[in-house]
Symmetry: C2
C-alpha cells in the first residue's frame, strides 16, 4: 500500500495503521487500469476529441444513461458540467448561488470541506444537527430552522451521508423536498456514495423527487469514490433545470472551473461501462466488513456505539461511553496507533466520535480492532 504514494498510507509514520481518509485499499478495477494504460500506450494525451465530440460530453452522456438505468431518473446531459472534484463543485455552487454573509445549511456531522467551503467563501454556516434514533441518525426538519439569522439560502445535502452512513428514506426525502420548495432553498446534493449501499437498498437521487425539486437541485456525483480513483479528478455537476445551470454559469463560467484530464475522463467512462463486476465484488466485501466490525464492537467493545451504516464504507463510532479525557481520535492515535478521522473535524461537538474507514482487507480490519481492544484494556 505504501509504495503507491497515497495520502492515506503516507501521512502517518509506519507504526500507525491508517483508517481515516475515505479511499479504499483494493486493487483497481482492471477495465479502469486498462483505460489509462491504453491512453499511455497510444500516446493519446493531445487535446482530446471522441467521435467528433469533446470527451466531457461523453461523461455527461454516460452519467445520464447511468441515472436513467439505475434510478429511472431522466437527466438532461446538456445540464451537466464535468469538473475535477466534488469539493470544487461545492465551492462553486456556494459561490454561484449565495452571496457573502448569506446562510448555507450543513448537516452535522459534516465532511469537513463542506464547512470550509462555506467559511472560505465568506458565507455563514447554519448547522443542521443529526439526532440518533432507532433507525440510525436522522435530521429533524424542525431543527433546520428558518429562524436562523441569516436564514439559509442553500442546503448542502449529503446522501448517503458521510460520516454516518445513513441513507434517507423516501419519506424523509419527500418531507425535506417539501421544506426546500416551501422555503425556496437551493440544494446541493452530494450523492458520491450512491453506489455503495447495503442490504439491497436503492439510492434515491434527491432531484428525482419531482420537477419542483429538480429545478432547485444540483446533484454531485463521481466514479472516483466507488472505483477508488480520486487522484484522477473527474466529477459531475448536474443541474436540475436549464435555468439553474444558466444562473450558475452567469456567475462562474465553466472555463473558470478548468477541465478534467483525459485520464480521469477515460477512467470514469471505463468504470461506469465495464466496472460493475469488480464493483459488485467490492460491495459484497464491504458489506461483510461492515457486519464484522459491528459484531466485534458489539461483542467485545460495547462502550463504542455504532448505528450500522446503510451505505458508504465509513462507520461513525460513538466513544462517549468510554469516558475519555481527550478526543477519541487522539486517544486511538496514541494508544492504538490507528489513525481514524477525528470526530471534531466533522462537528466541533463530536470529539468523542471517530470515523472508521472499513474499506480494507479482513486481516487489516482484525489488526485495527485488535489494537483498539488493547488500547481500551490498557487504559
Amino acid at each position: 500500500m505504501r509504495r503507491r504514494g497515497s495520502l492515506k498510507w503516507d501521512r502517518y509514520d509506519p507504526s500507525v495503521l491508517p483508517c481515516w481518509v475515505a479511499e479504499m485499499d483494493f486493487d483497481m478495477a482492471e477495465p479502469v487500469r486498462r483505460a489509462v494504460a491504453d491512453l499511455s500506450a497510444a500516446g493519446a494525451f493531445q487535446y482530446p476529441l471522441r467521435g467528433g465530440r469533446p470527451p466531457d460530453r461523453l461523461v455527461a452522456d454516460a452519467f445520464a444513461e447511468r441515472m436513467e438505468r439505475r434510478y429511472g431518473w431522466p437527466v438532461d446531459p446538456d445540464c451537466t458540467l464535468v469538473v475535477t472534484d466534488l469539493v470544487q463543485a461545492i465551492y462553486a455552487a456556494v459561490t454561484a448561488f449565495t452571496r457573502k454573509g448569506e446562510g448555507v445549511a450543513v448537516q452535522l456531522p459534516a465532511y469537513p470541506p463542506f464547512r470550509a467551503a462555506v467559511e472560505d467563501t465568506g458565507r455563514h454556516a447554519v448547522a443542521w444537527p443529526a439526532d440518533p434514533g432507532p433507525g440510525g441518525y436522522g435530521w429533524d426538519l424542525g431543527r433546520l430552522s428558518q429562524d436562523s439569522r441569516p436564514a439559509a439560502k442553500l442546503l448542502i445535502l449529503c446522501n448517503p451521508h458521510n460520516p454516518t452512513g445513513r441513507m434517507l428514506s423516501r419519506t424523509e426525502l419527500a418531507a425535506l423536498a417539501d421544506h426546500v420548495v416551501r422555503n425556496d432553498l437551493i440544494v446541493v446534493a452530494d450523492e458520491i456514495h450512491a453506489d455503495i449501499v447495503y442490504d439491497g437498498r436503492a439510492h434515491i437521487p434527491f432531484a428525482s423527487l419531482g420537477p419542483e425539486v429538480a429545478r432547485r437541485t444540483v446533484t454531485l456525483h463521481s466514479a472516483t469514490k466507488s472505483f477508488g480513483i480520486p487522484g484522477l479528478r473527474c466529477a459531475v455537476m448536474h443541474f436540475g433545470s436549464r435555468a439553474l445551470l444558466e444562473r450558475f454559469t452567469a456567475v462562474l463560467h465553466p472555463r473558470l472551473l478548468g477541465q478534467s484530464s483525459i485520464a480521469g475522463i477515460e477512467a470514469t467512462l471505463a468504470a461506469w461501462r465495464d466496472g460493475q463486476e469488480w464493483f459488485d465484488a467490492v460491495l459484497a466485501h464491504l458489506q461483510g466488513m461492515r457486519d464484522y466490525v459491528r459484531a466485534v464492537l458489539r461483542a467485545e467493545m460495547p462502550e463504542i456505539g455504532l448505528h450500522p451504516p446503510q451505505a458508504t464504507y465509513l462507520a461513525w463510532l460513538d466513544c462517549s461511553a468510554m469516558g475519555l479525557d481527550r478526543p477519541a481520535g487522539e486517544f486511538f492515535l496514541h494508544h492504538a496507533k490507528v489513525a481514524f478521522s477525528a470526530g471534531e473535524t466533522f462537528d466541533p461537538q463530536a470529539s468523542q466520535f471517530i470515523r472508521m474507514n472499513f474499506a480494507t482487507s479482513k486481516p487489516l480490519i482484525d489488526e485495527i480492532l485488535d489494537r483498539m481492544r488493547q488500547a481500551m484494556r490498557s487504559r
Copy 2:
C-alpha cells in the same frame, strides 16, 4: 494520428489535412509516457501524497527550480498555484483582478480564448494591435492607449506570442514594464511557449524584470505545450508576490479552481525532469521545419507573407496579396483541403491571415505546401 482521438485530427473529414490547433504530431517523450504507465501499473490513483507532501507542491517546486536554472529567475513556490489549464488561469485572473465593465488589454492578433475570457466575464476588451516591422510584429506602446474608455486595468501579455511567433526583446519588455508600472496595470503573462524558441534565443520571463514588475505579474506556464500533453491538464499560475496571490485568493479560493489529476502532475514532473533530450530533438526538427516552410513560401508562393517565427511552432501567414474574395482560411479549407486556424478568430480584421502549425513531419509539411500551391494555381 487519427486513432488517438485528438481534436486536431478528428475535427475535419479525412480528406482534410489538419494544420490548426496548437499541438504536435510527434510521439510522446518516453519518460512522460512511462510516468503515466507506471501510475496505471501500480494502480496509484488514490488521493496522492509524495514524500509527505501534496503533489501540487512538487509541481510548484519543479517550476521554481526550472525558472531559476533556465532564466536565473528566483521563484517562490509558495506563490504558485497548480490549475488544470491556461485558459482556466486566464478566466481566473481576469475574474480576480478586474471588475465587470473594466478594461482588459489584449494584444492583437490574440489566441481566441483570451478575448472570450474578457467577454465571457463581462469585461471590456481593449485591443492592442500589432504592427509589422522589419524584425517582425511589434506592439507600439503608443497604441496601448490609456485613453481608452474604460481604461485597461489588466494586460494579457502573450510572449512568445501566439500566433505571430514573435519574442519581445529585453528592450521592448523593459519599455512595457515601465508602462505597466506607471499605469498600475496587472499583467497576466502567458509564457507557455517559453521553451519553443529558435536560433539560440533565450526567453525572458516578464516577471524577472524586477520586483516592481513581479509584484503585478501572474506568470502562466505549463509543460503541456512543449511536451504535447494538453489532454492531461496541468498548468501553473505563479504570482510575483504574496500580496498578489492573496488578492487573487480573496476573490477565488484555490479549491474553486479544482485540482490537476495525478496523471497530469506526474507527466509534468517527468517532462521537466527527464524530457530535455526528447525536447531538444523536437526543437531542432521544428526549427528545420520553420526554415523549410519559409524557404518554400518565399520561392514558390511569394504572395504569402511570413515574418519567420522566433518562437512557437506557429506561422502567421499573410495572404492579403492573394486578393481573395473570401477569408483565407475558408479558401484553403475548400480548395486545398487543409485546415488552418482562421485569421479572423485571432482578430476580426485578420481574415486574410491563417495560422499554420508546422509541428509535424516533413512529408506532411510537403503535402500541405503542395496542396496550398495547387489551390493557388487553380484559382
